[in-house]
């Protein structure tokens, strides 16, 4: 199964309802967004005028560069299919691609807050929320669209899909040929691949030819500078091992965290 979202630009009126509903649902800080809407044009597309929108969000990519960038120590994680009860175990860092539903998720309790994943994402779909801090990271935690998995698991649609005033956002399983999203893909809905690579974005766009041309012309992203991402990740993994150790000790709890923080701070104050 691979969850995906279609954005039908024939229906979209660029109202930003999706963006604000998401902010409310997930208490996203004002200055960030798990999704966004940009008005494109009016510009010339060939001899025609075109104007449309770029409603963007995490693409829950087939090959997510953000996942590869995470420097957190891997742990074994067991995934359970809600329907069949089938389980799969996989070694994952603090962010991973779910082997069962295809979404890309973050374990904030293990996130180092280094921002490597945010830098690695060509779409700018991740941010580090500085308000989320713990004994592992005082820099904040990486955050992004989860395709509203907690809502979906509760039988609801993603917040952006629910509020969309024209049903321009359609959510479902791309692997199910009978789903609405798969039908859109069959009709030609496509994702915004970054220049020079294919990473399999699963948020896809459908619309009039000239509008899709304008969208791809204006909004095709560049790949991130992966060497810079790696440097950032490496720094984080070097600076924070003591913190992670303390976390692993677990039972040490508060006292342990205080101890480690005290040590770190001393170092920091120099």
């Amino acid at each position: 199964m691979q969850y995906g979202m279609i954005i039908d630009l024939e229906r979209c009126v660029g109202c930003h309802a999706c963006t604000i509903a998401c902010k409310a649902e997930w208490e996203v800080p004002v200055e960030f967004g798990r999704n966004w809407v940009k008005r494109l044009g009016p510009s010339k597309v060939g001899k025609e005028l075109a104007s449309t929108y770029y409603p963007g969000l995490c693409n829950h990519c087939a090959k997510p560069p953000c996942v590869d960038a995470c420097p957190a120590d891997p742990v074994e994680m067991t995934f359970k299919d809600a329907k069949t009860g089938k389980t799969t175990t996989k070694s994952v860092a603090a962010t991973w691609k779910d082997p069962l539903n295809g979404t890309v998720q973050i374990d904030k309790s293990r996130c180092l807050g280094c921002g490597a994943c945010a830098e690695a994402c060509p779409y700018g779909a991740r941010y580090v929320n500085p308000a989320l801090i713990d004994d592992i990271s005082s820099d904040g935690k990486a955050d992004k669209c989860t395709y509203c998995m907690p809502r979906v698991e509760a039988g609801l649609t993603p917040a952006c899909v629910q509020t969309c005033i024209t049903n321009a956002r359609i959510f479902g399983d791309l692997d199910d040929a009978n789903s609405d999203v798969a039908k859109y893909v069959a009709k030609g809905a496509k994702g915004l691949e970054p220049k020079g690579d294919t990473i399999g974005p699963n948020s896809r766009y459908y619309g009039k030819k000239k509008d899709i041309t304008l969208l791809f012309q204006d909004s095709t992203p560049e790949l991130a500078d992966l060497s810079s991402v790696k440097r950032r990740a490496m720094m984080a993994s070097m600076v924070k091992p003591a913190m992670r150790q303390a976390r692993d000790l677990g039972l040490l709890g508060l006292a342990g965290a205080l101890l480690v923080k005290g040590l770190t701070e001393e170092k920091d104050d120099k």
Partner: protein, 746 residues
């Protein structure tokens, strides 16, 4: 990335409970210490409060609140709604941030500084109400009730407006929604079809959607946009006349890039073509219109070629549009528009739209104009009283100055009287929910009005550029904290339902009002008591007022709440022309009043050399200036880039993103600057910006000074002669950049 852990931050973290901005609070079972969770909870498990009715704009979508520990976390469309459904627009969703806006008015305030340069002092409600009551009573005692002028807007302003108009007895009420917005449309249709048209076009079921200068897709009214997109998805053709490649134009099949101000010529040519070529609905015209012969004679000069020249569009395109309409009649949606205060020749344009609909037989048919049969409610309010026309500024020597004025008195008549003192003195001003500094053109004139007053009181939710002029400023509870306004309408429970269902949705509070905010019934009644009108009070509380209004439908607030916040009942088909429905193609009464009896084009002032016409319109995430301070909406759209034609920009050497200011043809400069949006999607002789930016009130800490206040550049006022409404698009600007003034090339 540096690992910055300061001592202070460390101590904060160590104390855990104080960690950063608390998100969802959780209590750890192990430690018993409240700790900020890293994962927001989502609103799925929050308490749902029903009965909300949005007023981020005035479409009034039905909503529910998600409340956690007494705090409103989120707003959603009410699942029971057959209007907006579970959808809300960006503004609707952002209501949470209006509710908790730190800049909101909290306590009654008195200006102890100069008028217009306020120094605010917090006072008690008793002191505030005593002062309002005594000062307004003094005005009435000295100058008569006509000495009070009222600028109301929004649901909460209706009750006090009725008080001042009906009980106190002043004619001098100017609603922006009429005199600076849709009043012309309503007046024109009422005097053509007998009905205010609303936006009752059946776009969902139409074959052609015909728009003239519409903001559809830029002004978001949820159920209306749903119908529009549904129609387009069903294959309706879209025809959009606009000087700009608007959001609607971008979805159109035919974009008519019309010269500003010439729309009526375009409409007359379409109608003349239909008549000359026998492509009009003869049956409808015979049964349901009057004055066809005089009408067709009057418009006969409007050949395709003549209009093409006047409107600066190809004759073939006008013909194409006319043929498309004729081929699909009567299932065509000729949209009456909404904001219609454009050029001062607008009554005639709106009359033309109403007549075109008739020629196409597109009234009360599927896909045409079809007024829904809405549920009936009571009209509890201050009792209507006759006050005569002696002090009605719109009556001069027994004759109406603007005979087709919407209800109230045309704004300019009030302002001229207030400034000159002739024919009488206006010395008291009540501003309730309106921001006349940014709705009424010519801000300097508005300031003169304020300066002429003995007393100004203002009631609002937020500070605005108008509240700066108050002597007493009162904080009102918002639409999320009070009962109020009842939305009625029709919809379909299931898409394929044969008949529509009626709904009644009275507003209910989502949370309790905080600080010392009060509702309009409390405030008005307390003032009425102090002005000697206690016996006239129609309702003691807002709930009481709403319940009395609901009586006619045999329901109560309590019963509707139990039904999930919306009452549903069987409806009737909107289709089928009533026997007595008549469209006056030529209106003898209008002719007798000295105006053209048939729709007539009057050209507007041309663009002076070196200038561009200033066009303005709506932004999808803002409701004028009202939402500019909303942190979520401000983040989405903090300012209003000016659209500049790409060829003009190249000649001026102006690039995308450059920062510019403006100077208008009367020498008025913009207070602030904005960025340039270079696009081929606008005519060379016009610039365009979103309306409602550039607030001057420093108490709007988020919105102040962001973008340019288009209203500040609208100083020339064109009055629509039939209605007395303001035309605001006859103002011309040059750009200023780096201290230089840039002439717009021809």
């Amino acid at each position: 990335m540096a690992f910055n852990l300061t001592r202070r931050k460390f101590l904060q973290t160590a104390s855990l409970a104080a960690a950063a901005v608390p998100l969802s609070k959780v209590v750890s079972a192990e430690t018993g210490v409240a700790k900020a969770s890293l994962e927001p909870k989502g609103t799925m498990d929050d308490t749902t409060v029903v009965g909300g009715l949005c007023e981020m704009c005035f479409w009034r979508c039905q909503l529910v609140g998600k409340v956690r520990d007494g705090q409103l976390m989120k707003l959603e469309g009410n699942p029971k709604s057959i209007d907006n459904g579970v959808s809300l627009c960006a503004r609707g969703n952002a209501g949470v941030k209006l509710l908790y806006d730190v800049d909101r008015l909290k306590y009654p305030l008195k200006n102890v500084g100069k008028r217009g340069e306020p120094v605010w002092k917090r006072i008690s409600w008793k002191e505030a109400l005593d002062e309002c009551g005594s000062k307004l009573k003094a005005v009435v005692d000295q100058h008569g009730p006509q000495g009070i002028c009222v600028f109301p807007h929004g649901a909460s302003a209706k009750y006090p407006m009725h008080y001042f108009e009906r009980t106190v007895g002043t004619h001098n009420v100017s609603e922006a929604s009429f005199f600076q917005c849709r009043g012309i449309r309503d007046a024109a249709y009422v005097n053509t079809t007998g009905k205010a048209p609303g936006e009752f076009v059946d776009m969902a079921n139409t074959k052609v959607i015909f728009l003239v200068g519409s903001h559809l897709g830029e002004n978001i009214h949820v159920s209306h946009i749903k119908a529009y997109i549904k129609g387009l998805q069903n294959g309706a053709k879209l025809v959009v006349a606009d000087p700009r490649y608007s959001a609607a134009a971008a979805k159109s099949d035919i974009w008519v890039q019309i010269k500003p101000g010439t729309d009526t010529a375009y409409l007359l040519a379409i109608m003349n073509y239909l008549v000359k070529n026998n492509k009009y609905d003869k049956d409808f015209v015979a049964k349901h219109t009057s004055g066809f012969d005089k009408f067709s004679e009057a418009i006969s000069e409007w050949t395709l070629d003549k209009a093409a020249k006047e409107c600066d569009i190809p004759a073939a395109q006008i013909k194409e549009v006319a043929e498309l309409l004729a081929a699909n009649a009567p299932n065509v949606a000729i949209h009456p528009g909404r904001f219609s205060s454009w050029y001062g020749n607008d009554f005639q344009r709106e009359r033309s739209l109403a007549c075109l609909t008739a020629l196409l037989g597109a009234y009360y048919v599927k896909g045409g104009w079809a007024e829904p049969k809405n549920p009936k409610l009571g009209k509890t309010s201050w009792a209507a009283q006759e006050h005569g026309d002696k002090h009605n500024l719109n009556v001069s020597n027994g004759k109406k100055v603007h005979p087709y004025s919407p209800p109230g008195t045309p704004t300019e008549l009030i302002r001229d009287c207030a400034i000159s003192g002739k024919p009488y003195a206006i010395k008291g001003c009540v501003i309730w929910g309106q921001n006349p500094m940014q709705t009424v053109p010519n801000q300097e004139k508005m300031k003169q009005v304020f300066k002429a007053m003995d007393f100004i009181m203002c009631v609002d939710v937020m500070p605005t550029d108008a509240t700066m002029w108050a002597d007493i400023l009162l904080p009102e509870s918002s639409y999320l904290e009070r009962h109020d306004e009842i939305k009625v309408g029709t919809g379909r429970i299931k898409a394929d339902d044969k008949l529509p269902t009626q709904f009644i949705a009275p507003r209910m509070p989502m949370v309790k009002a905080m600080f010392e905010r009060k509702d309009q019934v409390y405030i008005t009644n307390e003032i009425a008591k102090r002005m000697g009108h206690e016996k006239d009070i129609p309702a003691q509380t807002l709930e009481d007022l709403v319940d009395k209004t609901l009586e006619a439908a045999n329901i109560t607030l309590a019963s509707v709440k139990a039904e999930g916040g919306i009452h549903l009942q069987p409806g009737q088909s909107p289709y089928g022309v009533p026997d007595d429905f008549m469209v006056q193609l030529f209106n003898e009464e209008i002719a007798a009043a000295g105006f053209p009896g048939a729709p007539t084009y009057k050209s507007v002032e041309g663009v002076p050399a070196g200038y561009a016409r200033l066009l303005f319109g709506r932004a999808p995430v803002h409701t004028f200036n009202r939402t500019q301070n909303n942190v979520w909406l401000n983040h989405e759209m903090p300012d209003n880039p000016v659209w500049l034609n790409d060829e003009v920009a190249a000649k001026l050497g102006v690039k995308e993103g450059d920062i510019v200011g403006f100077i208008n043809s009367e020498g008025v400069k913009s207070r602030t600057t904005t960025s340039v949006k270079v696009t081929p999607g606008i005519r060379k002789d016009a610039v365009y910006m979103y309306h409602g930016f550039g607030s001057a009130n420093p108490l709007l800490t988020e919105g102040v000074g962001k973008g340019v206040d288009d209203q500040s550049l609208i100083t020339k006022i064109a009055i629509d002669p039939e209605t007395g409404c303001s035309g605001m698009r006859n103002n011309f600007v040059k750009l200023t950049k780096d201290g230089k003034t840039l002439d717009i090339p021809a």
